[in-house]
């Protein structure tokens, strides 16, 4: 299987899933079967084999292949959770479509088509993830579409500015001084600085970093929780992978000198602010969906710090961290959706005592917390530390620890709330524990078939919790450096 073939398969399945969205079960089955097929196809992807198509070359590196494999697993789990919660049936088709776009965008060497493909692909889950029919939702969606499109266009313009600077600097002129003349170095630094700031703005807007995070917070009111990571984690992750690769090449020579110091410090400060304030907002909010969204705002800060470092040494740790970010944030959003499914509320105070009644969900959140924050020696911990140290000078890098500590705080708050005496909502919730109709399986095959059907219907909540726990464990493995993630992340890009 090559990249265009994989993308065609995903896009075809996605369209099929979207067309079948009015059927009660078909879109979910297409989603589950589709992601299983894509997992197999991605596993057998031609690694490192260039595939020319449309004037560009597609290469699926080992890192991209691992990213896509993890994405298929995460998408499969989200499909299970969203199905259990009876959420919008367009979601599996939209996720499949996004996967197709991501496989194309991440494998192409030119950043411009990559950004455009990723943006067009991100529009589909945006359209499918919102509960339509209300003017409020339409207003929120208008804001998302604007943020996605504008961030992509700014990024494309930034690449154009950098490209123009490169062309001008290299163009021979009769005088032999270069097209930029005697002030060439200053003009070059200015042009590259502009391109760098443009790309950082695009990344910040796309990921919802402070201070351009307003659309993220308001979107959360309308968006169903499983759609959150699709728009707010997977999209920014892919965007960041493309821009990090581009910045290394386009801003490369001279980028680590003092020429871009002011710009780098500015972006680093924004990243730091986003990291700390996002985590603080997640700690303070009482709405579970907002907690998830603001944790993603905090992560946007790490993405910006990775971009701000402009150091080739930061590329591998940043890409390692992105792998963990995608899986673990998906597990966190899935956990939030599973909690909402089990207890019918997203208010944190009303969820008092949830962990006592849902040990599977409690285990899932503990694993998510450990994988997100990391422990010394874990790949995710070292990678984030390296990114921070390369992006921020002393003593500002120590401030980043505030964000990490506050991250521990919001997980701790959720867990502490969960072990308290259960609230009325939590006590009255049904379908939280696994049950088998009739107490035990019947020996009569006909009765057993009926029991099985009923058991599936009764155990949507525990099944969602189990799926989330499995994904969280996968995230923990990636965070610990399994599947050769750090080694693949260190391989050169296309």
């Amino acid at each position: 299987v090559n990249v265009p073939g994989l993308a065609a398969l995903a896009l075809g399945l996605g369209v099929l899933g979207l067309l079948a969205r009015r059927h009660p079960r078909t879109p979910w089955l297409i989603g589950l079967a589709g992601f299983a097929m894509l997992l197999l196809a991605t596993w057998t992807l031609d690694r490192g084999e260039p595939t020319p198509f449309g004037g560009e070359v597609f290469v699926a590196t080992a890192y991209i292949r691992l990213f896509l494999v993890l994405l298929t697993v995460a998408s499969g789990v989200l499909t299970v959770v969203a199905w259990a919660a009876s959420l919008t049936p367009a979601l599996p088709g939209a996720m499949l479509t996004w996967f197709g776009a991501a496989s194309l965008g991440l494998s192409v060497s030119d950043p411009v088509p990559a950004i455009v493909v990723l943006t067009a692909g991100a529009m589909v889950p945006t359209l499918a993830g919102l509960p339509f029919g209300t003017d409020h939702a339409a207003g929120e969606l208008r804001r998302v579409v604007r943020a996605l499109a504008v961030s992509a266009l700014i990024a494309c313009l930034a690449t154009a500015v950098a490209g123009l600077v490169g062309v001008l600097a290299e163009a021979p002129v009769p005088g032999g001084a270069g097209s930029l003349g005697a002030d060439g170095d200053g003009l070059r630094a200015g042009g590259l600085g502009l391109a760098f700031l443009g790309a950082a703005t695009a990344l910040g807007l796309r990921a919802g970093a402070v201070p351009v995070h307003r659309w993220v917070g308001r979107l959360t009111d309308s968006l169903t929780a499983p759609a959150l990571p699709v728009i707010l984690a997977w999209g920014p992750a892919a965007f960041a992978i493309v821009l990090l690769g581009w910045s290394k090449d386009a801003l490369g020579p001279g980028a680590n000198t003092d020429a871009l110091l002011v710009e780098r410090l500015l972006v680093g400060a924004v990243g730091l602010a986003s990291m700390v304030l996002g985590a603080a907002a997640a700690f303070l909010h009482d709405d579970l969906a907002h907690v998830v969204a603001y944790s993603l705002v905090s992560d946007a800060g790490v993405l910006l710090l990775a971009f701000a470092s402009l150091d080739t040494a930061a590329l591998a740790p940043a890409r390692t961290w992105i792998l963990v970010y995608v899986v673990v944030r998906t597990a966190f959003a899935g956990w939030a959706a599973a909690v909402m499914l089990a207890y019918g509320t997203r208010r944190v105070p009303a969820l008092r005592g949830w962990a006592r009644r849902s040990p599977l969900l409690a285990a899932g959140l503990v694993v998510v917390a450990v994988a997100t924050v990391g422990l010394p020696g874990m790949a995710v911990f070292d990678a984030r530390l390296r990114v921070i140290d390369l992006a921020l000078p002393d003593p500002f890098n120590l401030l980043a620890w505030v964000g990490i500590v506050v991250s521990v705080g919001y997980f701790g708050r959720l867990l502490a709330n969960g072990v308290r005496r259960p609230s009325a909502e939590v006590q009255q919730a049904v379908g939280v524990q696994p049950v088998w109709p009739g107490g035990r399986p019947s020996r009569d095959l006909g009765v057993l078939r009926g029991q099985l059907s009923t058991a599936i219907r009764l155990n949507f909540g525990p099944a969602a919790a189990l799926a989330v726990l499995a994904l969280a464990i996968l995230g923990l493995a990636v965070a610990a450096g399994a599947f050769e993630g750090p080694a693949f992340a260190a391989e050169p890009r296309v």
Partner: protein, 210 residues
């Protein structure tokens, strides 16, 4: 556009593109605004020199047609005019022309061989840069201020075309894949705008200014 006739054609094409974009943002009649954006998006890629690959050009034209068609479906049952257009097409036209002229003169205004002028480097693509800048100037207002999904979408479509004119002017013509991707983005943006416009129309409530 190095010869006399191609230069004239280039200027005519740029005028058509900017005219279409002005119509898209300034005319209150929705169908004419959509026609304007169709003209700007379909003709825009021809300003890049050298011309992009025919497959990419074809994709861009098809993308523009699909986008316009999808938007026409959205406005089929609604009112023919809306109150969200930017009033004053002369002001819009003046702003766009000024921006285009400034970029054109900055890029190619110096006579050939003059000091500081790089031979053929910014002269040929300056028309694309000028046209792209004009489209971005025109698109800024609906993107930042529009209260209507349709007007926002028209602004975004113009911004996409403007951006890729600037990219084409700066780093050369797009590959067929880029053309295809841009066409897809135009179609998806139009589909989202169409959907939002339908929702707003059905609920009979105009989205509030936020």
């Amino acid at each position: 556009m190095t010869g006399a006739l191609p230069a004239v054609i280039g200027v005519i094409l740029a005028t058509v593109v900017i005219g279409g974009a002005v119509a898209a943002v300034a005319v209150r009649e929705q169908r004419i605004a959509i026609l304007g954006v169709l003209v700007a998006c379909a003709v825009g890629p021809f300003l890049v020199e050298p011309l992009p690959d025919p497959r990419g050009l074809l994709a861009r034209i098809v993308g523009a047609i699909i986008a316009a068609y999808v938007l026409l479906i959205a406005v089929r049952d609604g009112p023919e005019v809306d109150s969200h257009a930017n009033s004053g097409w002369p002001a819009m036209a003046l702003a766009a022309t000024t921006a285009a002229a400034a970029v054109f003169m900055a890029g190619a205004g110096a006579p050939p061989g003059a000091e500081g002028q790089s031979d053929g480097l910014v002269e040929a693509p300056s028309l694309a840069l000028a046209g792209g800048t004009a489209l971005l100037v025109l698109a800024a207002s609906p993107i930042l201020l529009a209260r209507s999904a349709l007007r926002l979408t028209l602004g975004l479509l113009l911004a996409v075309t403007g951006t890729f004119l600037v990219v084409g002017g700066a780093v050369g013509p797009a590959t067929p894949l880029t053309g295809l991707a841009v066409a897809g983005l135009l179609a998806v943006l139009a589909a989202s705008g169409s959907l939002l416009h339908r929702i707003a129309y059905r609920s009979r409530i105009q989205p509030a200014r936020r």
